[in-house]
Amino acid sequence: MRARSQRLIMVAIAGVILVAAVGLALIALRDAIVLFYSPSEVAAEHPGFGERIRIGGLVEDGSVERPAEGGANFVVTDGAATIRVIYDGSLPDLFREGQGVVVEGAFIPSGDFEASTVLAKHDETYMPPEVAEALRESGVWQGEGER
């Protein structure tokens, strides 16, 4: 009798923690999900200002400006559409023109994309899967790297 009631209490505690975990996960997930767009998807779907998203593509050749006061502006392209990115942080070391890049941030009313993070990949043989797919869809890239 005693053992059973104790087991019941443990199960009840487990239930409470499980419910809390699931609830918390679902609520937190809603705010923390970041969707990935390619530049042409942005052109088609117009994500709203201030919405946190990721954009991936190639850094357009010759588009990188490095203002003297710091930061960098550049254009991300997938061959079909382009997006101007404003970034006031420090570019990652592997950032290069013509290479794949993923930027996270939000659009600002001027129509530019203000990035809070810029990710370039560690390994230059490595293309971020989303970028590879987006580029393949727009026909810019015919790499063999299957997913």
Binding site: Q6, I17, A20, A28, L35, F36, A68, G71, D88, P129
Partner: protein
């Protein structure tokens, strides 16, 4: 010739593992002594073969033999000797070989040291471990062999990814792998125990020392990785909730739950099924860690390279581990037996809640990590889950864990233990909590930090009382165990505090500076004094001299390096550590101003009290080590008695 011999040794280790599986199984089934000796000798032989193969791989690196694809892909003749050796495990194939060396090492250790009093269970475990060896050595031999050759020998190697050329990262993978692979012993023992129909207590007693050791190594490995990320990636952070980091954090959580629940199971037989389940899950999670790192299915800041074939292999291995292990568990867990039962305020109950909380964190981290993958399966690609999710889900449970932590050591096993004395004692802990909170308030910390300081004050007071209250314990074994427990618990608190302190730091300041110009951040003035060349053996570098003033003057020398062979630029940050925190400076790209002046991008952050993280990690590792020693001593005592 060296490469081919290495390849053959891998093949031999594979073949010997098959013999280990078969003869170990036979020894356990019919109790044949020769079969047992053959199983043990197979394990020793496989270990010797794997170790020699690894040694040969290192020799190939020292020779810079670029007819070996793995060497050509990860080395360069001009690379410093230390990194030539470290490159042997710096890439996928080599690290897999290291994984296998450790796996057969565990097999040999099981055959030699485990369970002298229960040979049947030991032989079964050796046999199961042989099965694990077959899976991973098969993967190594057939899908990622480090001894693969290039017929068209390149003139020069491609060099190891420069960010991996770093002392911390050279020892990070081996340490982490000791942890991951050490959990295979817990897996094999749990599966063997289920097959043999042993009771929960026997299984828990058998797997406890292995789990504790593995968990300690895992802690050290994760800490080294975080440290490396902190000063080498140059982003100023040490934990990014990146899939690869989560991949090592999940087995850590599961192993942490395991080492607690196994104590309860060994003492009173409670949680027998749960302990076996955790033992199976811990190693499965470790393998998933490898899967996430190597397959590239998830976008990660650390991802190596994307290779679907290898991903499939590891997915297959994982399916066998989790599927086989859990199916067996479902059929056999009934035989584990019921425990003695326990009261609601007994130590078991608190360990149970500890386990539920750790499992909740592991579950939410797993969910967040795999969510993008699940969405891809539903045709929605490119979803990623930000750090905000992990912070929001993990923090409440970890906080609850820390609040309950100090009470448990004062509770008795099985019986109700909540006395007036304990109530009084824990009320007293509130005082340091309030004082810590007040101090945080006075230095104008954020509300989160104030709360964290208050909780930490409470928990630390409790941990200190634990040490004081149990100081009368007799015998070296008990003292080592107590020290281990207190150190590890206090270490966890230190890490939590460090994490909170770090999260209260200000964002980075980035500015382009020409010579003589300054950046000011609160408390510090930094002046760029000049930039000079500081080339190394396999890189070209600019080194900035930055003069820091905050009452006293010091200088920092961040570098920006260009590794020609890998065509990669890296930054070497300069850090000035102090009690208040780290001043963290990195040097970015140069840019020309209209005036023709060259300005260098300089990034400055102040990370408050980062040393707490390092201190906490060291305390946890020392605690785990101390508890392992205590455990070994008490076992020796028991053996002497019997």
């Amino acid at each position: 010739m060296i490469a081919e011999t290495g390849r053959f040794l891998v093949a031999l280790a594979f073949a010997l593992s098959i013999l280990q599986l078969l003869s170990g199984w036979r020894a356990a089934s019919i109790g044949s002594a020769p079969a047992m000796r053959i199983a043990a000798r197979s394990a020793y032989g496989a270990l010797a073969a794997a170790v020699i193969a690894f040694g040969l791989l290192i020799i190939l690196f020292l020779q810079s033999d670029f007819s070996v694809a793995y060497v050509a892909g990860h080395s360069h003749v001009d690379k410093p000797l230390f990194y030539k050796i470290a490159a042997a495990w710096g890439g996928h194939e080599g690290s897999m070989l290291l994984w296998c060396v450790m796996l057969v090492g565990v097999g040999a250790a099981l055959a030699r040291f485990a369970l002298r009093q229960d040979e049947q269970l030991k032989n079964r475990a050796v046999s199961i471990q042989g099965g694990l060896q077959i899976l991973f050595l098969g993967f190594l031999a057939f899908a990622s062999n480090p001894f693969d050759r290039l017929l068209d020998v390149p003139l020069q190697g491609a060099d190891l990814n420069p960010i991996l050329q770093d002392p911390a990262l050279a020892i990070h993978p081996p340490t982490l792998y000791i942890g991951y692979v050490g959990l295979s012993a817990a897996f094999s023992l749990a599966v063997a125990g289920l097959i043999e129909g042993r009771g929960g207590r026997a299984i828990a007693a058998a797997l406890r020392p292995w789990s504790l050791f593995a968990w300690t190594a895992l802690t050290a490995g994760i800490a080294l990785g975080a440290w490396w990320a902190y000063y080498e990636l140059g982003w100023g952070g040490w934990w990014f909730w990146d899939p690869v980091e989560n991949a090592s954090f999940m087995p850590w959580l599961v192993a942490a739950a395991l080492i607690h629940s196994a104590i309860a199971t060994e003492k009173s037989g409670n949680f027998a099924g749960w302990t076996a389940f955790l033992a199976i899950m811990a190693f499965t999670m470790s393998t998933m860690g490898a899967f996430l790192v190597r397959s590239g299915v998830l976008t990660s800041v650390h991802a190596f390279a994307l290779d679907p074939e290898r991903g499939l292999w590891i997915l297959g291995i994982m399916t066998i581990l989790a599927g086989g292990g859990l199916t067996l568990f479902a059929f056999r867990s009934g035989r584990l037996g019921h425990g003695d039962g326990f009261a609601l305020t007994s130590r078991e109950a608190f360990i149970g809640v500890n386990n539920l909380l750790l499992a909740a964190v592991a579950g939410t981290v797993l969910f967040g990590t795999l969510y993008p993958l699940v969405m891809t399966a539903f045709g929605v690609s490119g979803v990623s889950v930000g750090a905000a999710y992990f912070n929001a889900t993990a923090t409440p449970f970890l906080a609850a864990l820390l609040i309950l932590l100090p009470i448990a050591p004062f509770l008795p096993w099985k019986k109700d233990g909540f006395s007036r004395r304990l109530a009084l004692r824990s009320t007293l802990w509130i005082l340091p909590g309030v004082l810590a909170g007040l101090w945080a308030f006075l230095i104008e910390a954020s509300p989160v930090a104030i709360a964290a300081a208050a909780f930490a004050g409470w928990t630390l007071a409790g941990v200190a009382t634990d040490l004081w209250h149990h100081r009368v314990l007799q015998g070296a074994a008990a003292r080592f165990s107590l020290t281990g427990r207190v150190l590890a618990h206090a270490g966890v608190v230190a890490v939590a505090l460090g994490a909170v302190a770090d999260s209260t730091g200000r964002p980075e300041t980035v500015r382009a500076l020409a010579e003589g110009e300054q950046i000011e951040i609160p408390g510090f003035t930094l002046t760029l004094d000049g930039v000079r060349r500081a080339d190394g053996p396999n890189y070209l570098a600019d080194e900035a001299r930055i003069v820091v003033e905050n009452g006293r003057v010091s200088e920092l020398l961040p570098q920006r390096r260009y590794y020609a062979a890998a065509d990669t630029t890296t930054r070497e940050v300069a850090i000035r550590s102090g009690l208040g925190g780290d001043l963290y400076v990195s040097l970015g790209e140069p840019r020309a101003r209209d005036s023709g002046e060259i300005a260098y991008e300089v990034r400055v952050t102040f990370n408050p009290m980062v040393w707490l993280l390092g201190l906490g990690a060291i305390m946890i590792v020392l605690g785990g080590t101390s508890a392992s020693i205590g455990r070994a001593l008490s076992r020796r005592q028991k053996e002497r008695v019997s």
